[in-house]
């Protein structure tokens, strides 16, 4: 029995039991990606499971136990029927103790199987959620360290999908995909071995049908992937169109363009419908086709087995066991093919995550740091290592000089050309200019969000690139062009500037910025 989750949109769903009608084939995956190196990705994921590796071995054993129990239990039908039921037919007062004993054994094996299923699921929860937690934290911490240019070159959507899509598929792979793949494989392998043991001749028929099934699974599987890719593209187009039109809804109204816009949507909608119906058709027919192929096999086996029994070459117990094995076959076989693909897809997602984690962080090789000299003055100063191995202390005053600074964002067009100016401590310098003149760039450079290509920026007599970035930024107070506030109270947001600030300090600052009065007018101040 395979368990797969009911996926809804972008959020994880409850992994309730077996999904009838098809597991991964039923899910709405996007274009299935293949990882560049599945092995490497797996190794890294394993590395995140440190400390829980022993548990992993236990999980593995439990999965084997669970599938093996199912396979073994089915075998019991043969001795039960052949030795404990048929021989007693018609007997008066038969001795049923042997029958009961073997049945008891069968039941116990099954019980062990069910318990093992619980065991590996339970162990897997802790392993999977723990690993995911560690990966998420790593992902976030590394993201925070990335230089501003990385965020310029990657869309928000892309970065968000690492946190949502990629981690979700990874979690699914760990808690369900991988265990099911193993258990399905064991079930199929075990059943096959047992069938061979029971009757090599009948197994031949099974092999032929298995071949047919595999061909169909891959064939349908390929079409599913192809059509889902097309569906994703069509969905992307619809998404983009809807976003544009809704963002610009007011313009649409002002120009009375509603009819035109709706017509445009109709076309894209139709395209999406066509792609979706093909994709879903193939996804839907997978299970019925596989399941009924297995019924065809069932019929053939029943007839052949009966024929062999009539000619005395087979007993009832063997037929019984064999038929049960046949029935338990088709589901795992289908699952294996699909699961394999989805595991690969998850690993590709993991690769994307690791790529971000491996990304070069903002390098900070500045060795000048900011210190607070508590006595006697409580002033702030730069602490710079000098040639003798000791430190120089330079007071923080706020003297900024740009000397022949040239800078370009993309390496081609210079946004700043040979810019020089100075700002003495306490001065108010205004930068004016038309759009695109480079004003915001100057502030970006001062913050060392980007580094200059030519010239020097000197801060309190120290070259900017010698300063530790964190300390440099601590010494600056920036009000950026795009206003960003965070979820939380007004107090918390203002305190962002100085976590140690007291409530009075926060209110004082608000008053200075002329914000206090409107804050007081808010319902909760």
């Amino acid at each position: 029995m395979a368990a797969a989750k009911a996926e809804q949109g972008q959020r994880p769903g409850p992994g309730f039991g077996p999904r009838p009608g098809g597991g991964p084939g039923q899910r709405h995956h996007g274009a299935m990606a293949k990882p560049q190196s599945a092995g490497k990705a797996l190794k890294r994921i394993l590395a995140y499971m440190k400390g829980e590796r022993l548990l992993l071995i236990l999980v593995f054993l439990a999965i084997i136990a669970s599938s093996a129990a199912g396979v073994a239990g089915t075998y019991f039908l043969k001795p039960l029927i052949n030795e404990y039921i048929v021989p007693f037919i018609g007997k008066e007062n038969p001795d049923l103790s042997g029958f009961a004993g073997v049945l008891f054994l069968m039941g116990s094996i099954y019980l062990v199987g069910a318990l093992s299923t619980y065991a590996y699921s339970r162990l897997m929860i802790n392993i999977a959620t723990g690993t995911l937690y560690r990966i998420r934290r790593d992902l976030f911490t590394h993201m925070e360290k990335l230089p501003v240019s990385y965020f310029d070159n990657h869309t928000h959507g892309e970065l968000m999908s690492h946190f949502t899509n990629d981690t979700d598929t990874l979690r699914e792979m760990m808690s369900q995909g991988f265990p099911q793949l193993i258990s399905s494989s064991i079930t199929v392998f075990g059943a096959f071995v047992m069938m061979l043991y029971l009757s090599p001749l009948l197994t031949l028929l099974v092999v032929v049908m298995l071949f047919v099934m595999l061909v169909l699974v891959t064939g349908i599987g390929k079409r599913i992937s192809a059509y889902f890719k097309r569906q994703q593209e069509a969905l992307g187009k619809v998404n983009g169109y809807v976003e544009e039109m809704i963002e610009g809804q007011k313009v649409v109204k002002v120009f009375s363009h509603e009819a035109v816009v709706t017509k445009g949507f109709e076309e894209l909608n139709l395209e999406l419908c066509k792609a979706a119906s093909s994709a879903n058709t193939f996804a839907n027919i997978l299970m019925p086709v596989m399941s009924n192929l297995s019924y065809i096999l069932y019929a053939i086996i029943a007839a052949s087995g009966a024929a062999m029994a009539i000619s005395g070459r087979m007993d009832l117990g063997t037929i019984a066991s064999f038929l049960q094995y046949t029935r338990s076959f088709s589901h795992p076989v289908t699952m294996m093919a699909q699961l394999f693909n989805s595991v690969l897809n998850a690993l590709a997602g993991a690769e994307r995550i690791f790529r971000l984690i491996d990304e070069q962080p903002e390098n900070d090789d500045g060795d000048v740091i900011l210190v607070n000299c508590p006595d006697p003055t409580g002033m702030w100063a730069w602490k710079r290592p000098n040639e003798n191995g000791a430190f120089d202390y330079i007071r923080l005053r706020g003297d900024v000089r740009f000397e022949n600074v040239t800078f370009s964002y993309d390496g081609e067009k210079n946004v700043l050309e040979d810019v020089s100016f100075y700002a003495k401590p306490g001065q108010k310098i205004a930068l004016v200019g038309s759009t695109g003149a480079g004003k915001t760039t100057i502030t970006n450079l001062l913050n060392r969000f980007y580094d200059i290509t030519r010239g020097r920026i000197i801060y309190d007599g120290i070259p900017l690139d010698r300063m530790s970035k964190n300390d440099l930024r601590l010494s600056l107070g920036m009000v950026l062009q795009d206003t960003h506030l965070f979820t939380g109270t007004v107090m918390e947001n203002i305190r962002y500037g100085n976590i140690c600030a007291s409530n009075e300090d926060v209110i004082k600052a608000a008053k200075l910025a002329n914000a206090h009065s409107f804050i007081k007018h808010l319902p909760e101040g």
Partner: protein
């Protein structure tokens, strides 16, 4: 609730009927197959009748093939029905949103509308597809399989009447306990994503204030919370599989025991026992299917609710109810406000506009000045009925704006909004929003007046330059000028510029204004601006303060008589000279 959505099946209704029908056929065939197998063993083998075995075997295989066909057909029909349904749903949602007035739009955020049109519709589609297949298959299989079991051996089938309720009860308990825990987990999931989103948008702020550590801790807390709530939820859910296995195996053991005894006693045949074992799987699986569908329906409830919210929204502003012949075209560009009051929300206290009385002659150039929040934009939004007044009335050309058809009204009033939105397509296509039939000369003329022609022709492809979403490759000032040109192409009776020259420097601003005054001689022009320099030459200037008109007059008059105006003027002049 799903009932409300049934009408959207539309032309796909027959597929929605065919799919379940095919499934019924498939299921019945599948249920009969083990029965035939039992016959082969009990009749065929015992009587040594090869012909019987071959015939019945052939029948079984044929039935399986037929079941395959039905199953595949059902899959196709269900896909057609569900995706067609989704298409109709999406279309209706989109059309409804197009009918929305500004105030309707205000009630939903852009992001949530987009989600409703995409993710929520897809969720509903998937549930519909699942229902069309499983909701029919499961009960039929359950009933038929149990029925055949009863037919074969009534006493033994009692086992099922114990197993099924036990499994059903177990599943219900698990689901009801686990579900609220999943709700909590999803909340934590959303919270986590919110932290990430905020950091992505405000990374510069985080870096500038060196708050990476703080944000890391914030994230860590949220991630820990998610991990713990996920564990709590999953701990319950994992009982499903073992429960299913336990019930199934126990049932099988019981059947083998009791059935075995009956065979020995001669009241049952071995083949029948095998048949029974097959039905164990079929019956218990169908119960699981019901559980699955149930869960999916519950999960999708949120999506369905959100869709119905949009569909059920009452449209605020509709065109005049008069028939086409009665509504007239706008005679001229005169505007009057008669004791107009307005508010965005429901509360009456502190209205955004109160008791506005204003008259503008056709062809006048009027400037509106006022602090942030004084009501300038709101005032002009009332003219093309982007919002409707609460009290009083707005007249255009001597007729209440509500008496015009929306089309007519908006064709005569052009407004260049504060957010300058352009769409994907060429520059020319964007400009043609003003007038689909505009000739190239008219387009060029409008662009020259808006001081846009020069920068357009500087692009290698000129007017055929393609703009990204939102007009991405242009600077703020360029976008504004294109929007002005687009409005000019409407050749309206009234043109309103809402702070439209804020992103251009004073020089370009002056160029635009002088070109406009030449081109728009007969057109009523309303200019909202922050800079007094932009409205200095207007025929009259309106000073607004806190939702009321403070004063009306020419530049010189206001300098002399109005305190607010004088203060603003002097503070803006300080930089000059």
């Amino acid at each position: 609730m799903i009932k409300k959505l049934i009408p959207f099946l539309g032309e796909y209704r027959r597929y929605a009927v065919l799919a379940p029908l095919a499934i019924v056929c498939e299921t019945i065939l599948e249920v009969l197959i083990p029965f035939l197998m039992a016959r082969i063993i009990d009749v065929g083998i015992t009587s040594g009748n090869m012909d019987y075995v071959l015939t019945v075997g052939g029948m079984m295989a044929a039935m399986a093939v037929l079941a395959l066909v039905f199953g595949a057909a059902a899959g196709r029909f269900a896909a057609l029905a569900a995706t067609g349904y989704a298409k109709n749903l999406r279309q209706s949602l989109f059309e409804k949103v197009q009918e929305f007035s500004f105030s309707n739009m205000d009630r939903f955020s852009t992001a949530s509308l987009i989600t409703r049109l995409t993710t929520d519709v897809t969720n509903t589609q998937n549930v519909v597809m699942l229902m069309l297949r499983m909701l029919v298959r499961a009960p039929i299989m359950l009933v038929c399989a149990t029925g055949i079991a009863v037919y074969i051996n009534t006493r033994l089938s009692l086992v099922f009447f114990v197993a099924v309720p036990v499994l059903a009860a177990g599943l219900s308990i698990i689901m009801s306990k686990a579900f609220p825990k999943f709700q909590i987990m999803l909340k934590h999931y959303d919270k986590l994503n919110k932290v990430v989103q905020e950091n992505l948008a405000a990374i510069r702020v985080v870096k500038a204030y060196v708050r990476e550590g703080f944000e890391n801790d914030k994230f860590g807390e949220a991630a820990e919370q998610l991990r713990d709530s996920q564990r709590r939820a999953e701990k319950l859910v994992i009982f499903t599989m073992p429960l299913m296995q336990a019930v199934m195996y126990a049932t099988m053991v019981c059947i083998v025991w009791f059935g075995g005894n009956m065979i020995i006693a001669g009241t049952m045949k071995p083949g029948e026992l095998l048949g029974f074992l097959s039905y164990v799987t079929q019956i218990l699986m169908s119960l699981m299917m019901v559980a699955m569908v149930f869960i999916s329906i519950v999960i999708s409830k949120a999506s369905v609710t959100r869709i119905l919210e949009v569909l059920g929204e009452e449209i605020d502003i509709r065109g005049s109810k008069k028939i086409k012949e009665d509504t007239c075209s706008v005679p001229d560009g005169s505007i009057s406000f008669e004791d107009v009051s307005f508010n965005y929300g429901e509360e009456a206290e502190n209205p955004v506009l109160s008791h506005i009385k204003l008259h503008i002659r056709s062809g006048e150039t009027v400037g509106i000045i006022g602090g942030t929040g004084s009501g300038k934009s709101t005032l002009v939004h009332l003219i093309p009925r982007l919002y409707d007044v609460r009290e009083g009335r707005v007249m255009l050309g001597g007729i209440d704006v509500r008496d015009y058809s929306l089309r007519e009204l908006r064709d005569s009033v052009a407004i260049v909004l504060q957010n300058n939105v352009l769409f994907s397509g060429t520059i020319r296509q964007n400009l043609q929003w003003g007038d689909q039939a505009a000739s190239d000369d008219e387009i060029t003329e409008a662009c020259i007046a808006a001081a846009a022609h020069d920068f357009i022709t500087a692009f290698p492809q000129g007017y055929d330059t393609i703009l990204g979403q939102g007009g991405v490759n242009l600077s703020g000032g360029q976008k504004q000028r294109l929007c002005i040109a687009r409005a000019l192409l409407k050749k309206p009776k009234v043109i309103i510029l809402d702070d439209s020259t804020s992103a251009v420097d004073t020089n370009t601003d002056m160029k635009i204004r002088s070109a406009l005054s030449k081109k728009l001689k007969g057109t009523t022009t309303i200019i909202i601006a922050q800079r007094i320099a932009s409205v200095m030459d207007a025929d009259k200037i309106i000073v607004m303060d806190d939702g009321k008109i403070d004063a009306v007059g020419t530049h010189e008059e206001l300098l002399g008589t109005n305190l607010i105006y004088r203060e603003v003027y002097e503070s803006q002049q300080k930089g000059v000279a």
